[in-house]
Symmetry: C2
Subunit: 448 residues, 2 copies
């Protein structure tokens, strides 16, 4: 038996100890599938840990840019991609190369369909593209946010149908990404990594992998626990933002400044965590992820009422903000139609360039549809590209005393630090402020 | 004019500078109205700061006990009340003595009526009891939790009708209590104190008062802001507990341990704050306060939907817990009727003796009403006194191996640290656990 093994390294390759050894000495090749906001930082981190890294993506242009050492993510400088290339990284659209990888980490999008149901098509098609090349001894980790049961019900059965035995000669874990683009303190390296395995052996492989790459690994008892953990984090945010948006509307009726109230409450040293209102939720996570649980819960006959309510309130903020702008213009005797309105900030959150699900884009569209002469200014977004549901074709207007004075109102939606708030305060004719940046300055400021 | 003033110190007494001086040199006499969970710790703190303190309450027995140096609050030892007495403190039911006080701080209950509407009767009747004795130069501070507008709409007009001019010869502030009984880190002295004044002069008086008594004072721009601040803090808690209770029910259907999920999510170093599920909300604040805003918001035609939903979910937990117990007994072939059930913990939260609004009391009643032979054990509550809506007439059962073995099930509702969990684990026949204390121990544990 031992002689046979010595003569047959291909056989040995499918054992867990072999994989663990290659992870521990960092010779295992890591294939990262999906090279976006999650996959690219992860590729950098794996490479920094000394692993050979292969990048897989279906987007030929992105693959070309990365191979040319160019980043298309604002907070990742091209210099770091160039260094990654020099470290041996290669990006490819050829999924047959996945067979060369010992580890496959899936970082593909999990959006919603137009009917607000989970769209697993990127996950499923990625698995199906990989299937012909999967081989014994590999570890597959899904990082995309999804509902509890996805790994066990959608990933593992497909792998087993291809003849591999999950937990014996192939290993599957779920380990949710927790990226927070623009966060200066926490990134891939120092955000603790949750790992749930399909079996104990799977979990051991996953914990060993991520233990080489990030500072802290948190093993949990199942892929379902890991899946629900990520959803709970984002449900918590969506609901707390929904709550504070509702509180903003209540306080507004009572002529109370909600930002002052939140700041005062935040002085309580226990039991309170401040969340801030805004023009609605944006980004690729918070407005979307919670509904993955809503959909799955229906299978058990349960409604996720907090998620539904938060979605409803957060979605309604767009119209509420527009109505506050209409009111403010009306006080100046102006209709929205024909008024010149400058939207400040179109990214979904401050200090990033990301337009995904940004409420500002939808508010801009609403303003234009109602006849406003609307423009925008965003130091992070020089122009608004054609998006799935919008084709605005606008470019960022530089902010100057003269340009500000041309507008009947400015509408602050995303409070980037790069804005010159003092200049805006001095020269804007009317300020409608959804972020509490200008509050209590003077009569020209309306909170929304 | 200056001669007149020198000859008429009674006239001088109504000026703000005179009051401020007496606050600053701590000669001002502080009258505290309502000597319960809020008023008594505050009296201790005022006395510790060197102020002469007068206690006013309508409860003759309480006044008698305090004057005898006895505490009726578990976490305040009688020794401290005795020291308070030695420091010159006196409690009285005679409201005419309030005229001797320079400051009147109202710490009276603000419960809900049976129809879940604000019950301001204690506040209003207190003010009316004080009215005949109010005099120029006094500062009145309301600390009771209430809706925005209470101080301006209910307190100030009554004072002005009595001939005093608020902001000129009489001063009114709202400064919410933020007590957290059982909190070993934060108490009256080091919890920052929010102060909103009816006028700028009022606020100055309030800030000066509390600046002598507590470490940090947070002035806000109005009594309404201060009122909403306290409500927001407790609404935040009620909603987050409601959310996690809903998540518990969802996770339960999916056979996922919600406590494991929460602990895993809590490893995220930003953007997530853990809240824990339980058998429903209790205490004198969290289940009650939010509905003060709900009621006031209706005046403006707005619904506070998160508050309503949280109330509904948190209230429903009682029945859900009972149904989980019924299911667990049923698995053992037993009906609830005739089964011996031991409820562990009846206080509304751990390590306190407070039964107010405790879901455990209601669950105990439900069990008895359905024919269970129910008992309870609580090291902090030797017997359950007659409460407004219950007359259980039960005494705490000591926990021993033998006593545990007599029960068909134990139901953990409040996880006091003083319970011997290992003894319970060893000897209980069936454990229904609403606090995640026994999870994943063995098959005899059912989470609820």
């Amino acid at each position: 038996m031992s002689i046979l093994l010595q003569n047959a390294p291909e056989q040995e390759a499918d054992s867990l100890p072999h994989l663990l050894a290659r992870l521990q000495d960092r010779t295992a090749r890591i294939g990262i599938v999906g090279l976006g906001y999650v996959g690219l930082p992860l590729a950098l981190q794996c490479s920094a840990a000394g692993f050979p890294v292969l990048g897989l993506d279906i987007d030929k242009e992105k693959v070309g840019r990365l191979n040319n050492g160019q980043s298309d993510i604002e907070h990742i400088p091209s210099r770091r991609v160039a260094e990654l290339r020099e470290g041996g990284f290669e990006a490819t659209v050829d999924f047959s190369k996945s067979g060369e990888a010992d580890v496959l980490i899936l970082c593909v999008p999990t959006p919603l369909t137009r009917h607000r149901e989970p769209d697993l098509s990127f996950v499923i098609s990625t698995v199906e593209h990989l299937l012909p090349y999967l081989r014994p001894g590999q570890l597959l980790s899904l990082e995309s946010t999804t509902y509890p049961g996805t790994t066990a019900e959608e990933i593992c059965p497909r792998i087993e149908q291809a003849g591999l035995r999950v937990g014996e000669d192939f290993f599957v874990v779920y380990s949710p990404e927790r990226e927070d683009p623009g966060n200066a303190t926490y990134g891939t390296a120092n955000i603790p990594k949750i790992v749930g395995g399909h079996t104990t052996a799977c979990r051991q492989a996953g914990v060993t992998l991520y233990g080489q790459i990030v500072e802290t690994v948190i093993p949990v008892s199942s892929t379902q626990v890991a899946e629900l953990t990520k959803l709970l984090e984002n449900i918590h945010r969506a609901v707390n933002i929904g709550l504070v948006n509702e509180m903003k509307m209540v306080a507004d009726c009572m002529s109370i400044d909600i930002f002052e109230v939140i700041d005062a409450a935040a002085t309580k040293p226990f039991g309170f965590t401040p969340y801030y209102p805004g023009p609605g939720l944006g980004g690729h996570c918070i407005p979307i992820d919670p509904f993955y649980l809503t959909w799955k819960a229906r299978e058990y006959g349960i409604n996720t009422r907090f998620i539904e309510l938060a979605g409803e309130i957060n979605q309604s903020m767009r119209d509420w903000v527009v109505s506050k702008l209409v009111e403010a213009l009306n006080s100046d005797g102006k209709a929205l139609r024909g008024s010149r309105v400058l939207v400040l900030g179109v990214a979904y959150k401050k200090n990033v360039d990301d337009l995904r699900e940004s409420p500002a884009v939808e508010i801009l569209s609403k303003l234009l549809a109602r006849g406003a002469l609307a423009d925008y200014s965003d130091p992070h977004v020089p122009r608004i590209p054609k998006l799935r549901q919008h084709s605005l074709n606008l470019s960022s207007v530089p902010i100057t005393a003269a340009s500000l004075a041309r507008f009947d109102a400015v509408l602050l939606l995303t409070d980037h630090d790069r804005f010159d708030y003092e200049l805006i305060r001095q020269h804007a004719r009317l300020i409608v402020d959804t972020r509490g940046r200008f509050r209590r300055l003077d009569a020209r400021v309306v909170s929304a």
